[in-house]
Amino acid sequence: MTDTSAPLASRRRLPVSILIGTGLAVVIVAAAVLAPSLIPFDPMRMAAGPRLAAPSFDHLFGTDEFGRDLFSRVLTGGRLSLGIGLTAVVSGLAIGGLIGLVAAFAGRLVEATLLRIIDVLYSFPDTLIALALVAFLGPGIENATLAIAISLVPFYARVTYGLAAAERAKPYVEAAKLAGIHTGRLVRVHVMPNIGQSLVVMGTLGFSSAILSAAGLSFLGLGVQPPSPEWGAILASGRNYINKAPWILIFPGVAICLTVLSFNLIGDSLRDLVDPRRKDRS
């Protein structure tokens, strides 16, 4: 009994998850962008209120161990997290995309060698790669961003290669080659516009994992350093007050969850749209 009604059902469900994801993302991005004018306090200002105060009208998310306003810190932290995520995704996509294109168009030997290397790297979880790199580079926001960007490279290289290799087989590429168009120009002018859209979609898939890695690294003290209000860093200091002031844990954590969730929802649904064959495979 091949169940043909189910794809219909998921097609119906699709817009809902995109809607929720996009709605969440818009709110989160807006909050981060507008943070400077939204926040009631300087996120770094000590004793903006009593220490470890519970959420109240004055301090919507409560205060931390230094009396800093948590609402201001979480909103400002969003700028950091989204900034790291965006930088890492863009640079990771650029490097990985380049490698993927080279693998697809630079001839058999290069293709085989690069693919082998990409596959090996891909078998390591990206958090682990980011962690290992940061271990060498040392803590700090720039190093963490760089490490996360590199950790995404295998994924993006693989995706780009897949798209480019599929494109390579199409008649117009063959025709362009016969017409004597240089490979570099062929890729720039003909292939890139065709796979660009799919690459942007795949970019969103890396975004959520970049945010998770950034929070994890900062939580371990290897990413953004206190007193910067990065979500993972806030959680790291908040864990000492887990009993007295659980709100220090709850608000930044929920912020991470919602951000990652929104981009997961968008990414998953977009991927289904771009690649219907994969609709049911997650």
Binding site: T2, R13, T127, A132, L212
Partner: protein
Amino acid sequence: MLLLIFKRVLIAFFTVIAVILLSGILVHVVPGDPVTAMMAQSVSATPEAMAEMRARLGLDLPVWQQVLLYTWHVLQGDLGTSIRGNESVAWLFLQRLPNTFSLAVSGLVIALAIGLPLGFIAAINRGRLAETVVMVLAVLGVSIPAFWLGLILMQLFALELGWLPVAGSGWRNIVLPALTLGLTYCALVARMTRSALIEVLEEDYIRTARARGLREYQVLFVHALRPALISIVTVVGLVFAYLLGGQVIIENVFSWNGVGRLAVQAMLQRDYPMIQGFIVVFATSVVVVSMLIDILYGFLDPRMRKS
């Protein structure tokens, strides 16, 4: 089949060599002098002490010699000496390995125990409420950071309810970190199980089994689940690798005395031999597990076994 195993072992071996080389090279990619970075926090950072450390680490040799020397030592089981405690890196990791392994396996077992049935339920209820619920849970699951979930569970079960200890390395202490890992990665298992099973349920042989008049449970549990499980086995290797990655943080949340906690301490202290050792140990675990999984797959799938 023997050839397959041989090839797979060979690939794994060369991957491990590549990782060792890489971790040998990475120390030299670090901007600035590693010794300065390492001793920055130390009061005994006299020029003599730093020169002595350089010599001890072989940093006065050309880079390529250092890398090859390091690789040669690692292959003999010598991961060097830690800078802080002046102890054998290999021995330090070896001591913690059982702790890390028991936690990883417990986490994996929980992830499978929850994820497999959920994925199964989602697959056989396509287009119905049950599938939607599982898929919503799954996307929530992959969106929650493991360490945050750990903190929440700790707050709930250890601090509020007092059922379990907050941290430590006794047998009761494994429950919370294992549960955290299991809950985090069961979402991944559920998604993969669902898609593997959906793929199988669309196969012609499922229709044949139904046409044979088998009971629906026979169709699902024998004809669909068996081939699906074979492809799920490969997924387990992947999940295990991810779980190992997440475990580094979880060990720190719960002060679990494993390799991950040791590694993060070393990273914070910039103890390079330890960091290199961690990379070699973890990467080797990932490579060996995925190799074993591939070989196991060969044994499970009759199409591979007899060829």
